[in-house]
């Protein structure tokens, strides 16, 4: 059908648009021309031949084909995707839950651990072990990933050690730690693990091993090498048991400890850790006699000796380890220090941790492990250490380059620890040195491995879990997360005391459960930003776990049953930010992507290896084979260490997918811009800004040599631009038959960016002036979108629509529905839902053709965003809204558009994506929030995915989770990168299961809960009514607080009590009620309200929280106290102020960060020095009313203020605009409406809200 471009299409009027210069003329011509008049000739389309006077160039007549061009194709490419998606999850956690608990300290010792590693035996620890292994492994992996650590080999070990220690702690019995080690070792053995071990008595074999390892430290290195060689795995099996009784372990450990610099005091534990690590390595190596030797360790003496030798080595290792552990870091460091001196303490600590964690994941097998057994788990990590160095990875098969990245380490983002971790480590390093060396000596004992009859490991875990509630005090990032629970474990207490620094051991209750009397607490808001609580897992798992920035759950302790969840009255759900920009991401290239055969879960750090050849899925518990290719570890270039592969060491990884994951060849990057050029649009002047931005960023558009780009404009007709290479200037084709849209020249409208760059630039330069004299006021958005869909459907891609008014012609035309008199109504807010299904249907069609539509609405009057937004909502696009946009009258909006466009055009993009979310059997997802189309029960179809898109999922518990202590969630995002590569990004999150209501409350992530509630409230507002949604929000607070009240027996009934973890809940909900989306009684334009709702639906949590509850800082007295350093800049960190006018003093200047807007409020009596130094004006009176920039002044306070603001601005999807608000200016009402703790005419103050809640509870 397609006529050659040149051939005239009847329908289309061909205009030759003038190149730049000619623009005006052409514009004029168009209108006059035939355009409007429908010419019969060519069917629908009119052919207009206008040649702009100047532009004579190609006046062609398009004859066009009235017919629609068949674009073809579309079909649901997506389908394949789905299948792919399915694939993603391969088994995860199934493995045995192990107790990851290992103490941090252990990690430090890592060096030593290697030796332990050998300890194949350890693995046996079975149930617990596996877990630990995983943990260990993961930890190790982290280490590896972080290339930085020199120690790498050691590192792994170290990390593992930490885990071990934890285990040990669990064991609590003197030996426990050792046990832990053992477990670890088993783990390390790799995969074996999990299964058999279960019963191992915790410590024995391992312990011995561990000891040995410690002793052996020096040896270890050697061993490792050997291991890498391979056989390690083999060896493992044997390891199990021989050894040693716990006692030995302890002894060893102790000795080791002493030697070890690690403060881990818990020597034993540390040792254990070390051992584990070693074992792990060794085990992996299998071959190693050394291991055996280590095992033999039994003799403490030897150990001691070894340490000395090893010490040098160790240190290095430690660092690595520590880094991995980072999260816990605080604790760890401490431990190390202490460790030397106080081994015992360390151990204790570890023990405690274990308790908390509960490793078992699914762990099936081992049930009741002795406490000791728990420890075992931890081992695996060792492998990683080796990895670091190896960046080479390339070796054999898999993973190519990516490894390097991997090694490089864990993603900094995650945990943040990665970055930080290194730093912390230092302390540990020194310590380690001593201990490690010795491995060699004590081989013998290992032999016996299995024997240990540790009963079921699991039990141990369970116990541990319960106690744990690690509620992390929101404010204190540093917390290791361990809770007080220690009590249960005797040993732990001691440890805890030693650990002291780490957590709040002393408190009988976890910090998160501390009752807070809300009405008495005047300063409920912490001074520092609120951090995500750390799940109460053992250290190994914690280190491996996904970063809260990418993946958060509203309850970090998952209730065991739906009944328990109902009792808690809290929402259960996940908040995802899957495509976040990451600075480090392991990328894995492998011929076979290992997945569970039944549930298609991707292999992840939380699976358990039953033996070298089999792994157990942590989601469905199926036992799968380990493919041959997976046995080779590209990072260490060793064979037989499947548990050390990067997939198993990192909870966020990216796979390069093979052709199995493609339904069609990966599409090129295709961008289409659909621009409103009606009178209204030209008046607003956005075209200039857009074209300018595009010209600047044309080379930065993500894509490869196949990148294609196209432009369409529309008013009452639709204009296409022929940019075919070879033309001397862009050619405009006008289709005026908007009832039956067709493409005049389907082939030449989307052109290769590089081949036609000159033409594109000509067009962009000409566009802003082409329509300056237009008198066309109508907007045919619907038909333009239909045309865009036809144009895009053969390939898919991204359509960016710029619209400035209500669509008034053709399909999809809308009527104004807003009644301005109802804007401040307190009763019913109508028309929050779409008026027509046209946009939704079109969006689904687009979604089926892998096309996403991004909407930029720049309007000064009501444009029915509620209807228009559907086009983006269901095609996975994004929505930008600029109310009252005008390029000269509203410069701040213009600047915002400019910045947003820059980010929009240059940010990463994924095409033809699908995302599948899998969770452990027993949990199910029932509602999804975000911009996408849910194609089947757990598959989200995303035509495009951007780094700024967030999602939320609501969960329910369908089957009791009584037989597991860990649950896992995995999201797999399959997409085509802008370079035409098919990739899969996998995130895995692991959380403990608890059975008591108190533990559920201890683990609440209040920010996640509020964001999920906000999403639910948006749905409710649309499907029911705004007042229903508001009531539901208030009820959420009332229900959860009264449910908590009923669990606290000694309640003072007159007081409003909340657990510390929920203390901000009422404040955040009040903030939500005062948010634009949900407020009543304050004049709010319908579009503003709907836009706020769209934002709630699709913003990632970090950004959403700022929208809901802005941050207020006082900035007239910034100091460097507590400042952080970012890119060589010093960024001051002023304390957060509560959002109340009582905090505003006339003498001060305050910055409010609302996410998309910054306000700087200047008090009347503000210090003139500040005004002069920062704002550049002599005094308050001379500050202009509209000020949107801080001048670059060469003063210290200016520099501080600017660096602080720049830091806040970094990485926002919507670049915030800055408003300087004077105390007396009219603009201050905007500022004051964000002071949500204050009373307004229509809403409660915070205190009144609390009283209201109290009243409701008492009813």
């Amino acid at each position: 059908m397609s006529a050659p471009a040149e051939s005239p299409h009847p329908a289309a009027s061909a205009r030759i648009p003038p190149k730049l210069g000619g623009a005006t003329a052409s514009g004029a011509a168009a209108p006059a021309g035939p355009g409007p008049a429908p010419h019969q000739q060519n069917g629908p389309a009119q052919s207009q031949m206008q040649v702009p006077s100047g532009y004579g160039v190609h006046p062609q007549n398009y004859i066009p084909p009235s017919g629609h061009y068949p674009q073809g194709p579309g079909k649901m490419t997506s389908l394949p995707l789905d299948s792919q998606c399915g694939d993603y999850y391969s088994g995860l956690y199934t493995v045995p839950t192990q107790n990851v608990v290992t103490s941090n300290t252990a990690n430090q010792q890592p060096g030593a651990q290697h030796m332990y590693g050998r300890g194949p035996p350890a693995p046996h620890i079975v149930g617990s072990t596996p877990g630990s292994f995983q943990g260990a492994a993961s930890s190790t992996s982290h280490l590896h990933t972080s290339a930085s650590q020199p120690y790498s080999p050691f590192v792994n070990h170290y990390s593992s050690p930490a885990m071990y220690s934890a285990n040990s702690s669990v064991a609590s019995q003197g030996f426990p730690s050792t046990c832990g080690h053992y477990a670890m070792s088993t783990v390390s053995n790799a995969a074996y693990p999990s299964v058999s071990y279960p019963s191992l008595p915790a410590g024995d074999p391992y312990g011995q091993q561990m000891f040995t390892s410690q002793n052996a430290p020096t040896v270890r290195p050697v061993r490792d090498n050997s291991f890498s060689g391979h056989s390690t795995a083999i060896g493992h099996p044997s390891p199990l048991p021989p050894p040693p009784s716990h006692q030995y372990h302890q002894q060893q450990s102790l000795s080791g400890c002493s030697t070890l610099s690690w403060s881990t005091s818990g020597l034993p534990s540390t040792q254990d850790n070390l051992v584990r690590n070693h074992t792990g390595t060794l085990a992996t190596a299998s071959s190693n006699p050394t291991n055996t030797v280590a095992d033999s360790l039994s003799c403490p003496v030897t150990q001691n000796v070894q340490p000395l030798k090893s010490s040098p080595v160790v240190p290095t290792v430690l660092p690595g380890a520590s880094s991995t552990r980072t999260p816990p870091a605080a604790n760890r460091p401490v431990e190390p220090v202490a460790s030397v001196t106080q081994p015992s303490e360390l151990l204790q600590q570890k023990g405690m941790q274990y308790g908390d964690y509960v490793n078992n994941q699914a762990s099936s097998a081992p049930t009741p492990l002795s406490s000791a057994s728990d420890d075992e788990e931890e081992e695996e990590e060792d492998e990683e250490a080796g990895v670091d160095s190896s960046s080479t990875t390339s070796s054999a098969s898999p993973v190519p380059n990516s490894y390097d990245a991997l090694e490089g380490g864990s993603y900094p983002d995650m945990l943040s620890s990665s970055a930080s971790s290194p730093a912390p480590d230092p302390a540990p390093e020194p310590d380690p040195a001593p201990a490690p060396a010795p491995s060699a000596p004590q081989p013998s004992k290992m032999a016996k491995p299995f024997g240990y009859g540790y009963p079921a490991l699991q039990p141990g875990y369970q116990n541990a879990t319960a106690p744990l509630n690690s509620a992390v005090p929101p404010s204190s990032p540093g917390y290791s997360g361990f809770q007080p629970y220690a009590q249960q474990y005797p040993g732990m207490n001691q440890l805890s005391s030693s650990l002291g620094g780490l957590s709040l051991q002393s408190s009988p209750q976890p910090e998160s459960l501390r009752p807070v009397n809300l009405t008495q607490e005047r300063n409920i808001l912490p001074m520092t930003p609120v951090w995500a609580p750390v799940p109460n897992l053992n250290l190994d798992l914690r280190k491996l776990n996904c970063s809260p920035d990418s993946f958060r759950c509203t309850l970090t302790n998952i209730p065991q049953t739906q009944a328990l969840l109902n009792k808690a009255k809290l929402p259960l759900g996940l908040l995802l930010h899957p495509f976040r920009d990451l600075t480090q991401l392991p990328v894995i290239t492998s011929n076979t992507i290992v997945r569970c055969r039944s549930c298609r879960t991707y292999i992840n750090p939380f699976v358990s290896f039953i033996d070298q050849r089999r792994w157990k899925c942590n989601l469905c518990y199926r036992v799968n084979d380990v493919p041959e290719e997976f046995m080779y570890n590209p990072l260490t270039r060793s064979y037989g260490e499947p548990h050390k592969r990067p997939e198993v060491q990192n909870s966020t990884v990216e796979f390069i997918a093979s052709s199995d994951y493609m339904l069609r060849p990966p599409q090129p990057a295709v961008y289409l811009f659909v621009l409103d050029v009606s009178h209204n649009a030209v008046e607003a002047g956005y075209l200039t800004i857009l074209c300018q931005s595009l010209l600047e960023n044309l080379d930065k558009l993500p894509g490869d040599s196949r990148t294609r780009i196209g432009f369409m404009t529309f008013d009452s007709t639709i204009h296409f631009y022929n940019l075919q290479e070879g033309l001397s200037q862009p050619q405009m084709l006008i289709v005026s038959d908007i009832d039956d849209v067709f493409l005049p020249t389907p082939d030449s409208l989307l052109v290769n960016l590089y081949e036609s760059k000159e033409l594109i630039k000509d067009l962009l330069n000409a566009l802003p002036n082409m329509f300056t004299n237009t008198r066309e006021t109508h907007s045919a958005l619907g038909p333009a979108l239909q045309a865009a869909f036809k144009l895009m459907s053969p390939t898919g891609g991204r359509v960016s629509v710029f619209q400035t008014q209500l669509p008034s012609l053709g399909a999809g035309l809308l009527q104004s529905r807003e009644d301005p008199n109802q804007r401040s109504s307190t009763k019913v807010v109508q028309h929050l839902g779409p008026a027509t299904d046209f946009y939704k249907k079109l969006a689904l069609d687009c979604s089926g053709q892998q096309t996403a539509v991004d909407l930029f609405l720049l309007s000064s009057q009501y444009s029915d965003l509620a209807s228009l937004a559907c086009i983006s909502k269901y095609s996975a696009g994004c929505i930008y809204y600029y109310p009252s946009f005008h390029y000269t009258h509203n410069p701040s909006q213009a600047e915002k558009l400019q910045k947003d466009l820059k980010r929009y055009l240059t940010r990463k993009i994924g095409f033809e994506a699908v995302m599948r979310i899998r969770c452990t059997k027993g949990l199910s997802m029932h509602t999804f929030h975000g911009n996408f189309f849910v194609r089947s029960t757990d598959l989200l179809s995303l035509a495009n995915i951007s780094p700024d898109a967030g999602f939320a999922v609501q969960l329910s518990i369908e089957e009791n989770l009584t037989d597991t202590s860990l649950v896992c969630f995995q999201t797999a995002l399959l997409y085509t990168s802008s370079k035409g590569e098919r990739r899969i990004r996998v995130h895995t999150l692991c959380l403990p299961v608890v059975s008591s209501l108190a533990d559920v409350y201890a683990g609440v992530d209040v920010q996640a809960a509020v964001c999920l509630l906000a999403n639910m409230a948006v749905d409710r507002s649309i499907s029911s009514s705004l007042s229903d949604a508001r009531d539901a929000l208030v009820n959420a607070v009332v229900d959860s607080l009264s449910a908590y009240g009923s669990t606290v027996s000694n309640l003072q009934h007159s007081a409003l009590i909340a657990p510390s973890s929920l203390k901000l809940f009422p404040l955040y909900v009040l903030a939500l009620l005062k948010q634009k989306a949900f407020r009543t009684g304050t004049s709010t334009r319908l579009d503003d309200r709907v836009y706020a709702m769209c934002q709630i639906k699709c913003q990632p949590l970090v950004h959403l929280m700022k929208m809901i509850h802005p941050n207020l800082y006082r900035i007239d007295r910034l100091t460097d106290e507590g400042a952080i350093h970012v890119n060589d800049r010093v960024v001051p960190q002023p304390p957060l102020q509560k959002l109340s006018a009582e905090k505003l003093t006339r003498e001060g200047a305050f910055l409010m960060d609302c996410g998309s807007v910054f306000y700087i409020w200047i008090g009347k009596s503000c210090d003139n020095n500040f005004i002069e130094d920062v704002l550049g004006y002599p005094n308050f009176a001379s500050i202009p009313q509209k000020m949107t920039h801080l001048p670059e002044l060469d003063t210290l306070s200016s520099e501080r203020a600017r660096s602080f603001i720049t830091w806040l601005r970094d990485n926002r999807p919507l670049s915030p605009i800055l408003h300087v608000v004077k105390d007396e200016s009219p603009a201050k009402t905007e500022f004051f409406q964000h002071l949500i703790e204050d009373r307004t005419e229509a809403a409660f103050s915070y205190y009144e809200f609390l009283l209201h809640i109290q009243q409701q509870i008492c009813k």
Binding site: G833, P834, K841, H926, T927, F933, V934, R935, T937
Partner: protein, 139 residues
């Protein structure tokens, strides 16, 4: 005359039974991921109006032929059908909306509804059959 009314009702009821079964099969296909939400909903939405009409006709027929008991039995179901059809929000693509069907347990409630209707129609089927035979005998 009486017999004709019941013969017609019987045929109509058969059609409604088949329709219910079709709804159940299609919904369970969606549940099992054999088809996607879009095609499932477009298939089902096509039959919402025929079902509504079919059932309304029988109800009215019973009223006209003065079978009060059967009329009252059918009335709630007919009312529900009409109510559901009228209450579809303007932005939705029909009673079954592909963008919502996976949310908030809608799929389950649709399934439940289809099951209940199937049971109801089966009951009616035997009632009409009995009444028809009775009418034929009386004739």
């Amino acid at each position: 005359m009486e017999a004709v009314v019941f013969v017609f009702s019987l045929l109509d009821c058969c059609a409604l039974i088949f329709l219910s079964v079709y709804f159940i099969i299609t919904l369970s296909d969606l549940e099992c991921d054999y088809i996607n939400a879009r095609s499932c909903c477009s298939k089902l939405n096509k039959w919402v109006i025929p079902e509504l009409i079919g059932h309304t006709i029988v109800t009215v027929l019973m009223l006209v032929s003065l079978h009060w008991f059967i009329f009252l039995l059918n009335l709630p179901v007919a009312t529900w059908n009409i109510y559901r059809f009228i209450m579809v929000p303007s932005g939705n693509m029909g009673v079954f909306d592909p963008t919502e069907i996976h949310n908030r347990g809608q799929l389950k409630s649709h399934m439940k509804e289809a099951m209940v209707k199937l049971g109801f129609h089966l009951l009616c089927f035997f009632m009409y059959l009995y009444s028809m035979i009775l009418a034929l005998i009386n004739d």
